[in-house]
Symmetry: C2
Subunit: 238 residues, 2 copies
């Protein structure tokens, strides 16, 4: 399971555990500005009883893709703030080239070694930023490729590897509602693309990037108190 | 371009350069027993005028896949020696789970950042070990996935990313003949799955693993002197 430490992937973790799956969680340090999400991933993996959690060092990737994405440290591009996230058809510069293909392929390698057949990923194609690698067509193509890339493609039936995307058709509010039912502590997830560390070391979200906007609106629509700590919130409020 | 430092990938490098492509070469340190191949890759990249050569540290991968492949350090499985490489239908234990999917996905990320559209890989499906991820069906599925995973899948035409496999239909002897025409120094390539370093630091091939057998027969069939240094060759012969 790809576990970033964000709202979506932690919900997927809760869903898979509730469905009785043994979870091997996989996170990546690839130079993302929001690397603080990894500590959330580690705590959530433990909280939900993942049988393993690996954090893979892909720090070599950041400099290679920095010219094409604002999401990594060292990029001269800035994370857009206050943008209309409903701009259809435009892929924002926070898109990281081929990230889901790469992360799912890594998960596929580990899964084949474990004898696991289900790859879980928290993509959703409704309240999202328009990334190409979050769309159902990509997920289907990846599954087809995965079944040809591995032993099952020669030795077994062609549908043996499945990509599980339980959030793909859910609005953000529906994801949050499902997670709340399952006991997810969303206060210990990071969605912000450009967070800063608070005085206690825990993240403060910017509140203005695409991801913060989608997340904040999700809590509003779900009628759930938003536990996110934003930059500029007064200490008193917490 | 995926450049392992082996016979096939170095031939692909020569072919792409002869065809006028600017080559960004990509190698991986993933815990392979034959990590000495990377020094060949670096020399060959320079020799053929690659504009860049990156060696990616994926050393985290080795321990994760070690239970399922003999090819990485730390695996308790042994590289088979003296096996009949013509055993059809059996995938040998030197297969590394999802390796080509993972390496091509990494190349895809870099390519998208560069604005490159051609991914080159030295797979061939004739004189090969039966790995699932060397077959044309896998390559086609990967290309389809790649075109959905990236910006071109939304913004451009669906065939914009191409996976170039100039060796896919060639026998090993044909690969060698083509490389010799193009000036490849096969003495500075490593195919052996289990080489040792000679006293001069350059590799000695075992001569008995699948890859050594395919390579040796390739030179014989091509009528080309085999420049490979094998374990047990007398110094005098060199």
């Amino acid at each position: 399971m790809l576990l970033s430490g964000g709202l979506d992937s932690v919900t997927v973790l809760a869903i898979a555990r509730a469905a009785g799956y043994d979870v091997h969680a996989l996170s990546f340090r690839y130079g993302q500005r929001h690397v603080i999400e990894l500590s959330c991933a580690a705590r959530q993996a433990e909280r939900f009883g993942a049988c393993a959690h690996e954090i893979v060092d892909l720090s070599h990737l950041g400099p290679l893709v920095a010219p094409a994405t604002a999401l990594v440290e060292g990029s001269t591009l800035s994370v857009p703030k206050g943008r209309d996230v409903r701009d259809e058809g435009e892929i924002p510069i926070t898109y990281v080239p081929a990230r889901n293909a790469l992360f799912l392929s890594y998960a596929l390698a580990w899964a084949e070694s474990l004898g696991a057949r289900d790859l879980w990923i928290g993509v959703n194609a409704l309240d999202y930023s328009g990334y190409p690698d979050c769309r159902p067509a990509f997920i289907e193509a990846f599954a087809a490729m995965a079944n040809l890339a591995t032993r099952v493609g020669v030795e077994g039936d062609g549908d043996a590897v499945r990509v599980q995307t339980p959030l793909i058709d859910l609005p953000k509010a529906g994801i949050i509602a499902r997670g709340v039912e399952l006991g997810v502590d969303y206060g210990d997830t990071v969605s912000c693309y450009d967070p800063v560390a608070g005085v206690d070391g825990r993240p403060l979200a910017c509140g203005a990037c695409d991801s913060c906007q989608l997340r904040r609106k999700g809590f509003e629509d779900a009628g759930v108190d938003d536990p996110t700590r934003y930059v500029g919130d007064s200490i008193a409020r917490r």
